[in-house]
């Protein structure tokens, strides 16, 4: 079934109810999943999450905002690129493993093609002085954007005076950023410690 076809079996949305309460739309087919994720992926700059939420929750109404947050949270605690994990989980919930692959492919194929072309251009023209200067300027801004994301994520830790969380954060920053230790080694030590501390703190609070 094409997801673009009109949802004839579904009653027309009740216009008197609020936006949040309007009914979810029927799930898309494989082609629909591919196209939807391809669109979200190539929609804009600064990450796909914003566009994924907009597409899935606001435009297509395939999930409620809460379902979206829950699914995304799962993908955030798993390793790897979050939005890629999300495409797999979302697609497979709707159409099984084939749906997962369709969403995954839609998310990755178009931008990978674009960036491979850019890579070829960079390999050929990367030494041109004007391009080097432009990229140097863009890098400065891109690093600033990354630092802003870090500040945003740190705010809740600081607000609830999570001293242990902040200590762990700084230790990882120093170990990986300054001492340049391998990621695996740092995490194989840091994850058990952080888990143990978090578990102990929660028990103490609930006790």
């Amino acid at each position: 079934m094409s997801p673009e076809s009109p949802p004839a079996a579904v009653p027309a949305p009740d216009l008197s109810s609020s936006v949040e309460e309007s009914p979810l739309q029927p799930p898309p087919g494989l082609v629909g999943l591919f196209v939807a994720f391809a669109k979200m992926s190539t929609a804009g700059f600064g990450g796909v999450l914003y566009w994924a939420r907009r597409g899935i929750v606001d435009q297509h109404r395939w999930m409620t905002a809460d379902e979206f947050n829950e699914t995304y949270a799962l993908c955030h605690f798993l390793p790897g690129p979050n939005i890629v994990n999300f495409s797999m989980v979302f697609g497979s919930r709707i159409r099984g493993i084939a749906g997962g692959i369709a969403a995954f492919a839609g998310l990755l194929a178009p931008p990978t093609a674009i960036i491979t072309i850019l890579a070829a251009l960079y390999a050929r023209y990367g030494e041109i002085d004007t391009l080097r200067r432009i990229l140097a300027g863009v890098s400065c801004a891109a690093v600033g954007l990354l630092i802003a994301t870090v500040l945003r994520m740190m705010t809740p830790l600081i607000k609830r005076r999570d001293v242990i969380g902040i200590i762990l954060l700084v230790v990882v920053l120093v170990a990986v950023g300054l001492a340049r230790l391998p990621l695996q080694a740092v995490l194989l030590v840091a994850i058990p410690i952080s888990l143990a501390v978090t578990f102990y703190m929660r028990r103490r609070i609930s006790a």
Partner: protein, 177 residues
Amino acid sequence: MNPNGNPIWTLIWTFGLMSLFAIGGANAAIPEMHRIAVDVRHWMTDKQFADVFAISQLTPGPNVLIVTLIGYAVAGVAGALAATLAMCVPTAVLAYYVSGLLARSGHSRWPGLIQAALVPLSIGLMAASGLILAQTTDRSVVAVLMTAATAILTFTTRLNPFWFLLAGGLLGFAGVI
């Protein structure tokens, strides 16, 4: 480059393993990508690494695609594909199984606990990414100011990030940075 074997296998092994430790997403793995691509394997220079980071931020799509650029630098189109799939497939498969497992086991308190434990580590890794990239990029006073202004304005306002990338590109083109 790698006299002992096919560079494609090196890419697959390197990024496949790295993805499993990329807690909090691709930006958390940037220090490790930099360590391996620049310091260990000498696939690219420090400056080229900063360039591919900039290109990946300029391109629409998930920011994990910085690995596509690294893969291309190592082994052309095949390298680009190998690096991208190695970084994305293993964790997507893991996510598929974990999500199915959680759906069956109902509401466990473990996901919440694990997430709470991982968040500070993930922020620490992203902060390390910022630090490493800033050391490469911010070599002049104007460059430092540009990074600081972008960080502060993005943190405190809701301006579209694209404007900062554009401003950086224009200042670079003009030779100011």
